[in-house]
Symmetry: C2
Subunit: 554 residues, 2 copies
C-alpha cells in the first residue's frame, strides 16, 4: 500500500481539455505522464455541477441529497463526518492546501458549543481538514462589500510581500491585465481574457499553490493525505505570460450546439441558456476571448503538475504516494448555449480522473483507461482503503465505493450501474425567472452508459439523452413517446435511489445485524404466553423468583 | 396564547381504546373531559409504528427518513435539532418527565468533543430535553445482562424506598403478580396478565409519573413545556388492583381479522403475522388474557389524567396551559393476526390526539372533532407557535405544520393531503426470515383519506387498502389490476415525498431567497463581457483602477 495520498483537485477543469482525454490542441504532457503511470477514468461523474456541493460530496463520500449542502454558501451541517474524520480514525492525517468552498455551520457550532478555535471546532469548520493553507481564490468585492474577509487571504499577503501594491492585489495583479497607462483591465470582464495577467508567472496562483504543497510535504509526517486543491482554471479567465498567448481562436474546439437544441429546449434548460451567463457564452466574441485564456490556465496547471511530479520523483515520494487528479466539475464554454457549469451535460458533470498507485499490485493497469461509471463520492472510500481502513464497514455513512478494484484490475463486476448528479438552484435568480419556490428549484440526473434522464421538480416533463447515439447530447428525447419505457425505467432507478437509506448513520450494518437478537438476550421477551414459548435461557431472570406479598392499601 | 404546554404522551395507546374514540366498554371520562374542552383529531398518524423512531420524529418535527433514528436503539445523530432547541431559542423551557426512548449518539458526541455531563452534552444526549425525570420503564434482564443500567432507574429506587424488596422491584412488583406462596408471576408471560400487579396502586408507574409531573410543575418557572411521557399501557401487560379485575373477555372488542386475509397475505405482511408475536396474538387465550389488562392499564391512565386535570384546575394552570394528549403508536392486540405495532394498519399507526387550548380564540372548536389528516411531526411546530416562535421560518428544518389553524378553526385549506409512515425492520429477525439485507428491510406507507399504499423494499408488490370501502383494512388490493391507476398515483406521491428537500437545514428559505442576488452584490459578477453587460454598481470595485505594471521575470 502507498503510505501517503496526494489528492489534486482542479477547479472547473473540463474533462476533455487535456490531451490524454483527446483535446486536439491543448497538450498536457505532465498530466498525460501521470495517466500513463496510472488508470484514467473515462466516465467519472461529480455529484453536483457546482463547486460547493460537488466538493462536500467528495469530502463526505455522500450524495448531496444526503449531506444537504446543496449550493455554494450553504454550510455543511455540523455532525456530518468527513474525509478527515474517517482518515484520522485509522491514523492518517488529512491536510488542506487550497480550496474547499466549505462554509462552516456557525449556527450549529454555536448550538453545540463548539469553539472554532479549538482543534475539533476548527476541523468541523474546515470540512474535516487540518488547514496548511486555505485559499478559495476569490477576493471579490461589490457594492455590499467583500465576499470574504480579504485580510484573511494569505495569498494576498504573499502578493503584498512580493511588492504587488493596492488594496486588492489578487484582483489588480493575479486576475487582471494592465494597459500601458497603468489602467487595470479587470479579469472579471471577459473581453480582457486575452490580456496577460499583470503578475510574474511564478507569483500567480497555480505556481504559488504548487510551492505550498511542496512546503507541506517537506514537513509532513507520514502517513498523510494532502488535498492540493487548485483554484484554476476557474474564472476569472485570465492568465499570466507566456500562457496568455499560447492559444488563439484557431485552437478552439468547434462549439457544440444547434439552433434546434435552443429553439426546442425544455423550459428549465432554456432558462439556463438564457441566463446572463448563457447569453454571454452564446456570443462568439466571448468564447474566442475566454477559451484561449482557459486553455492557457490549464497549460499552466499542467506545467505545475510537471514541477510537482519531478519533485516527487526526486524526493522518492512517487514510490510511496498515491496520486489522484480530478476536478470538481466542468465548464460549458458556450456549448449547448451555456456558460459556467450548472446543468447536467457531460461537458459539466463528467470530470477527468486519474489514479496513480505506486504499488506493484497496480502495475497491470498502468496507462490503461477504465470505462466504468464512477462517482466522486468513490474517492473517500478509496483513500480510506489506502489508509488501512475498511470502507465496507462504513456503508451506513459513506455512500461511495472504493475504486481500488478498478485501480488494481481485480474488479469482477461493474462498479456501478448508474451515476447520480443533483443541482439545487433555489438560491439563484433562475428559480425566480421560472417562478419556482425554494423547494422546487431542484433537478436530478440519473445516467448509465446508454441514457441520461434529467428530472426537474416543479411539474415539468423530464429530459432524456441517448448517450450512445447522441454523445453530444443535442437531442432531448424527454418528450418522445417512443422512449416512454426507457424514461419509466430511468425514473424507477431515480425513485429507488431517493428511497435509499442515507441518514441511519449511527449504527453500522454489522451492528444492525447484531441487534436482531440482542434485545431478547437483554430480557425484552415479546410474545411469550408462558415460559415454554421461548428458549428457557432468555427468561432466566423472570422465573423462579419470590417476593413479599403486597396488598393494596385501604 | 397559553403560557405553558403540558405534552402528555402515552405509550402504545391504541386510538380506539378510549370512550371518546368510540370504545364501547372502556370508559375514559377524564380523557373525554379533555376532549370536550379541546379538539379531538380523528386522523392523527405517527411517523413510525414503534417507540423510538416515532418519538424521534415527534421530538424533531422530521420524518424518520430525515433524522435516521429508524429503530429502537439507533441513536438520534448529534446535530439534529430538537423540540428543546427550538423552544429554548424562543424562551420556553422544555422538560422531560418520563420516557423518550432516546439513545444518545455517543460516538458522534465523542467525535465533537461533547461532554455528556455538560449542559449542552446532556441535552444532546437526552434528545433536547432538560430531564426532570427520565424513565423508559423497562428494567429488563436477560442472559447477556440488563438492557439498561438498573441502578440509574429512579423509579426502582423509589420502590426500594417504599419497601419493595429484591434486585428488581420494577419486575417483581410493578410488573408481576404473585401467588399465595410468594412466587412471582412475571408480567413478561402473558398468561399472568389477569393477575393483579403485586404493588399498591399508588406506587405503580402511572400514578408515580403523574406525581412527578405535578412536582415538576409546582417548581417550574413559566413558560415551560412539560413532556409527561407515560410508560403505559405498553407491555408488560399487567396492572395493579382494582384495575386488574375491571374488564373481562366479555368486554373485549371482536377481533378484526379474516382467514382470507391470512391465507392471501403479502409475503412481508405474512412474515409479521407469523412472527412469534403474531402467532401468540393469534391465539384467543392470549387476547383474552392481555386485552383486559391492557384496558385496565388505560383505565388507570384515565384516572390519573383525572387527578392531573383536577390539580391543574385547582392551581389555575388550566387557564394558562395548553394540554396535548397523544400516543406514540397503537397495538394490534391480535387484529390482522398480529401483536405489537410494527405494521401500517390504522390499528397501529393512527393515534389518539387531543389538543386543549385555554385561549378564547379556541372557544369555537371546543368539543369538536377534526377529521383532517395530521402527523405527529405537526406537534413541534404547534408548540413552537404557542411559545411565540415562527414555525414558517423553520421549514428548512421542521417538516411538520402547526395545528393551530385547526385548533382555532381558522384553517382555510386542508392541512395535509397525505400522511407518511415508515418502518425499518433491518434490526429484527423478520428481515432475516425474509432474506432481506439491512438496506432492504424497509417499508413505507403513504395514505390519504381514501387509500393507503404500502411499499416494501426488496422487490415485492405493494399493498393497497381502500379506507373508505374497507375501513378495517382486510382486503389488500395491491395485486388488483383494476387499481393500477390508484397504485401509480399513490406511488407518485411517495416518490415526490422521497425527493423532498430534507437535509438543507443550514439555510432558511428566506436566506436562500436573499442569496439569489447577494453574491453579485459581493462582487461575483458572472457573464460580463464588458462593464456595460451589468448594472454599473455591481462592478464599481473593478473599474477605474490603476496598478504598477509588472513584467514577467526573465
Amino acid at each position: 500500500m502507498p503510505r501517503n495520498i496526494l489528492f489534486v483537485m482542479f477547479d472547473q477543469l473540463r474533462w476533455d481539455y487535456l490531451s490524454c482525454y483527446g483535446h486536439p490542441h491543448l497538450h498536457t504532457p505532465n498530466i498525460d505522464r501521470l495517466a500513463g503511470r496510472g488508470v484514467r477514468f473515462s466516465r467519472a461523474y461529480v455529484q453536483s455541477p457546482i463547486c460547493g456541493p460537488s466538493r462536500m460530496s467528495t469530502y463526505t463520500g455522500r450524495y448531496v441529497h444526503s449531506h444537504g449542502a446543496s449550493w455554494n454558501g450553504i454550510p455543511l451541517k455540523v455532525g456530518e463526518t468527513t474525509m478527515g474524520d474517517h482518515l484520522r480514525a485509522v491514523g492518517m492525517g488529512c491536510f488542506l492546501v487550497g480550496k474547499t468552498h466549505m462554509r462552516a455551520d456557525a449556527e450549529g457550532m454555536r448550538r453545540l458549543g463548539l469553539d472554532p478555535d479549538g482543534i475539533i471546532g476548527a476541523r468541523v469548520a474546515e470540512c474535516g481538514f487540518d488547514v496548511f493553507e486555505r485559499d478559495d481564490g476569490m477576493v471579490a468585492v461589490g457594492p455590499d462589500g467583500p465576499l470574504e474577509d480579504p485580510e484573511a487571504h494569505l495569498y494576498s499577503q504573499y502578493l503584498r510581500e512580493r511588492g504587488y501594491a493596492g488594496d486588492n492585489p489578487w484582483h489588480d495583479h493575479a486576475n487582471s491585465g494592465v494597459d500601458a497607462a497603468g489602467n487595470v483591465l479587470s479579469g472579471w470582464f471577459m473581453r480582457n481574457a486575452a490580456e496577460a495577467a499583470n503578475i510574474e508567472e511564478a507569483d500567480s496562483e497555480t505556481p504559488y499553490l504548487t510551492r505550498r504543497a511542496i512546503a507541506f510535504i517537506e514537513q509532513a509526517e507520514a502517513p498523510w493525505l494532502c488535498h492540493l486543491s487548485y483554484i484554476k482554471p476557474h474564472w476569472p479567465y485570465i492568465v499570466p505570460a507566456p500562457y496568455h498567448a499560447m492559444y488563439g481562436p484557431e485552437t478552439i474546439k468547434p462549439v457544440v450546439r444547434t439552433q434546434d437544441e435552443f429553439d426546442t429546449a425544455h423550459p428549465v434548460l432554456k432558462a439556463f441558456m438564457t441566463s446572463p451567463v448563457g447569453r454571454a457564452f452564446s456570443r462568439d466574441e466571448v468564447r474566442e476571448a475566454v477559451i484561449p485564456a482557459y486553455m492557457g490556465l490549464i497549460k499552466q496547471c499542467d506545467d505545475q503538475i510537471g514541477v510537482l511530479l519531478d519533485w516527487l520523483e526526486q524526493t522518492g515520494r512517487m514510490n510511496d504516494t498515491m496520486i489522484v487528479l480530478t476536478s470538481d466539475h466542468g465548464d460549458f464554454l458556450g456549448d449547448h448555449w451555456m456558460g459556467e457549469k450548472t446543468f447536467f451535460h457531460d461537458t459539466s458533470v463528467k470530470v477527468p480522473l486519474i489514479v496513480y498507485d505506486p504499488s506493484p499490485e497496480a502495475d497491470a493497469t498502468r496507462g490503461t483507461v477504465c470505462d466504468e461509471l464512477v462517482e466522486s463520492i468513490d474517492l473517500l472510500p478509496t483513500f480510506l482503503e489506502i489508509a488501512g481502513g475498511d470502507p465496507g464497514s462504513l456503508r451506513h455513512v459513506i455512500e461511495g465505493r472504493s475504486l481500488m478494484p478498478l485501480v488494481r484490475g481485480t474488479a469482477s463486476e461493474p462498479h456501478r450501474d448508474q451515476v447520480i448528479c443533483e443541482y439545487d438552484f433555489a438560491a439563484t435568480p433562475i428559480a425566480e425567472r421560472l417562478g419556482l419556490g425554494v423547494r422546487e428549484a431542484m433537478i436530478f440526473m440519473v445516467a448509465d452508459k446508454r441514457y441520461k434522464l434529467i428530472h426537474c421538480e416543479g411539474g415539468f416533463r423530464p429530459l432524456l439523452f441517448d448517450l450512445e447515439n447522441d454523445p453530444d447530447e443535442l437531442r432531448d428525447l424527454g418528450g418522445s413517446e417512443d422512449h416512454g419505457p426507457v424514461i419509466a425505467a430511468m425514473y424507477e432507478r431515480l425513485f429507488a435511489w431517493t428511497r435509499r437509506v442515507s441518514q441511519r448513520t449511527t449504527r453500522s450494518e454489522a451492528q444492525l445485524k447484531e441487534m436482531r437478537t440482542a434485545i431478547r438476550r437483554r430480557g425484552v421477551v415479546l410474545g411469550a404466553y408462558d415460559e415454554n414459548d421461548l428458549p428457557l435461557d432468555l427468561t432466566v431472570h423472570y422465573r423462579g423468583r419470590t417476593a413479599a406479598i403486597r396488598k393494596p392499601a385501604g
